[in-house]
């Protein structure tokens, strides 16, 4: 039964293609109080930076139509703490962890990637070149193909595990960035990060989020994400982990159809805290309904 959901990706032998997206699931502890994390395919843990980061001032989130804005600002306890506490704690689960790596310059990224990729349960890195919520950090790597390629190559050179690069949708041509990171040696792509947006206070007209802008996520952005996965999957030969607005099993089928080999669920975890296990439970029946034996048969069917 669970065999039908199995997906093999560089570094990642996934019992199913469903995982929480980075930043929406912390390091797993909180959701472990709600359900058995072993049900998941993987976990994309919260971004790790070299030093502990305090993140942005609050408010950090705001509601929008069928979505939300966030400007957490990569708050995290820092590489050392993650290596000593969060990752060892996660070892109790049979989970290949994907570690989200962030930084403000190449040296940071390289240092974090090198160290965190040595952790026994980290089976892949997710190189975050697309966080819109930190000044001089992340996103500029994700908007220029050459820079993206170079960073990918630098990280790839030191990583002990396959490297997936997380792309920003805030670009004129995401295909160009995708091709560049493939050339840089990326083993896979994760996409999309959030769209840069803003909400204003009704009364004052000032931004609701202290940071001004925030990253838009949730069902609102799904059509943009699907379009991008559809395009990128045709342009590169490395696998894609798709995300952006997934909140139910039909959304998962859409991303796989468009060409993703696995998917991540972000914002929906805040709305239905059991959304990941629920989707995993519903997948086999959905495969029956669509007439597929195996989840891998769904991957890329839009293009066939």
């Amino acid at each position: 039964m669970s065999n039908r959901l199995k997906v093999e990706l560089p570094g990642l032998s996934l019992k199913n293609p469903i995982m929480p997206a980075s930043g929406c699931f912390g390091f797993g502890q909180e959701y472990a109080n709600l359900y058995d994390l072993n049900k998941l395919g993987s976990i994309m843990i919260k971004a790790a930076t070299l030093e502990k980061r305090r993140g942005n001032p609050t408010p950090r989130v705001a509601e929008t139509s069928a979505g939300m804005l966030n400007a957490i600002g990569l708050q995290n306890p820092g590489l050392e703490h993650i290596l000593q506490h969060e990752l060892p704690w996660l070892e109790q689960f049979d989970l290949p962890i994907i570690a989200n790596v962030a930084g403000t310059e190449t040296a940071d990224y390289v240092e974090v990637a090198k160290e965190i990729s040595k952790a026994p349960n980290v089976h892949a890195l997710e190189l975050n070149i697309s966080c819109p919520n930190v000044k001089c950090g992340g996103i500029q790597f994700g908007t220029d193909p050459q820079t993206a390629k170079e960073l990918t190559a630098a990280v790839k050179a030191v990583s002990s595990v396959p490297v997936y690069v997380k792309l920003s949708p805030n670009v004129t041509s995401i295909v160009d960035i995708a091709k560049a990171v493939e050339e840089g040696g990326a083993d896979g792509i994760t996409m999309i990060n959030t769209l840069v947006g803003m909400r204003l206070h009704e009364k004052t007209g000032k931004p609701v989020i202290a940071n001004g802008t925030g990253g838009l996520s949730g069902p609102a952005i799904k059509p943009v994400a699907i379009r991008m996965v559809y395009e990128v999957s045709q342009a590169v030969n490395i696998p894609i982990i798709g995300m952006g607005g997934i909140s139910n099993v039909d959304d998962v089928i859409d991303f796989l159809s468009a060409g993703a080999s696995a998917v991540a669920v972000g914002t929906a975890n805040f709305v239905d805290h059991f959304v990941c296990p629920t989707i995993i439970e519903q997948l086999p029946a959905k495969l029956d309904e669509l007439g597929y034996d195996n989840i891998t048969q769904v991957i890329g069917r839009s293009h066939r």
């Binding site: 929406c24 502890q29 909180e30 939300m68 966030n70 957490i72 708050q75 709305v271």
Partner: protein, 255 residues
């Protein structure tokens, strides 16, 4: 344990201008331990609105498996919540967070409970528990105006109760701290929930007293996973309001 349950509406009652009292029934009630904990509510299936709403637990009845919330129908989500009728279902995640420590007050002591606006509700269950444990309670409750006042009688049954309104249309005019300065009540420790400035003023007014404050912050997950709701602490670190709080001992949060 935190649960997610579709709970049934037992009763929805408007108790003041824009203020509603909602009684829900379900298993989840049995998990509620402390006054001052909260629930995270999805007012509608789908994504309109897209986020849950954090609301304090105002009264717990384990025997009947029911609990009460008191909330202001101000924005999109709470307005929808206020349309729910007996028999309707509401998606509740909870109980969440760490509430008011009743055990910090010893029998025979007096506790001062200070609430502001929609910070008043969690103090009701707190006061009931304190009284059950033989602790005397004094209640100082601040509201905008007379038509926003709720639960005055309920609190009066539990101890001395002072109402303060910003415009003087009920009780004393001014801020809760004005009234406290005037009455100068005798108490051993205080508990409070309300707007930040009120919490700050209280800390300042009673530098020597043991006290516990409940905070508000915009939330995403409500369980500690997303870092949306952090607040700065006095030691230069941070706490998550949803899972480390919402109640903190005085002095912990930078005000």
């Amino acid at each position: 344990m935190i649960q997610q349950e579709r709970m049934k509406v037992v009763r929805q009652k408007q108790i003041a201008d824009d203020i509603f009292e909602l009684t829900l029934i379900g298993q989840l009630t049995l998990e509620m331990k402390q006054p001052g904990q909260f629930v995270h509510i999805r007012v509608e299936d789908g994504y309109e609105p897209s986020l849950r709403r954090p609301i304090s637990i105002a009264e717990i009845d384990h025997d009947a498996m029911q609990f009460k919330m008191i909330y202001r129908a101000g924005g999109k989500g709470t307005k929808i919540l206020s349309t729910k009728k007996a028999g309707d279902e509401v998606d509740v995640l909870g109980p969440l967070g760490n509430g008011f420590p009743v055990e910090e007050a010893a029998p025979g002591e007096t506790a001062l409970l200070v609430g502001g606006g929609i910070g008043v509700p969690p103090l009701y269950e707190l006061s009931k528990r304190l009284n059950e444990c033989g602790i005397k309670t004094i209640h100082v409750l601040g509201f905008q105006a007379a038509n926003n006042v709720f639960y005055e009688n309920q609190f009066k049954e539990l101890g001395d109760t002072y109402i303060v309104t910003a415009d003087g249309s009920a009780g004393t005019k001014g801020f809760v701290t004005d009234l406290l300065a005037e009455k100068n009540p005798n108490f051993d420790l205080f508990y409070s929930c309300g707007p930040m400035p009120m919490l700050g003023a209280l800390e300042k007014a009673y530098p020597e007293k043991k006290g516990f404050l409940s905070f508000e912050e915009r939330m995403g997950c409500g369980i500690g996973a997303c870092f949306a709701c952090v607040c700065d602490t006095t030691d230069g670190d941070y706490k998550k309001v949803c899972s480390d709080g919402p109640v903190f001992p005085r002095g912990v949060v930078a005000l």
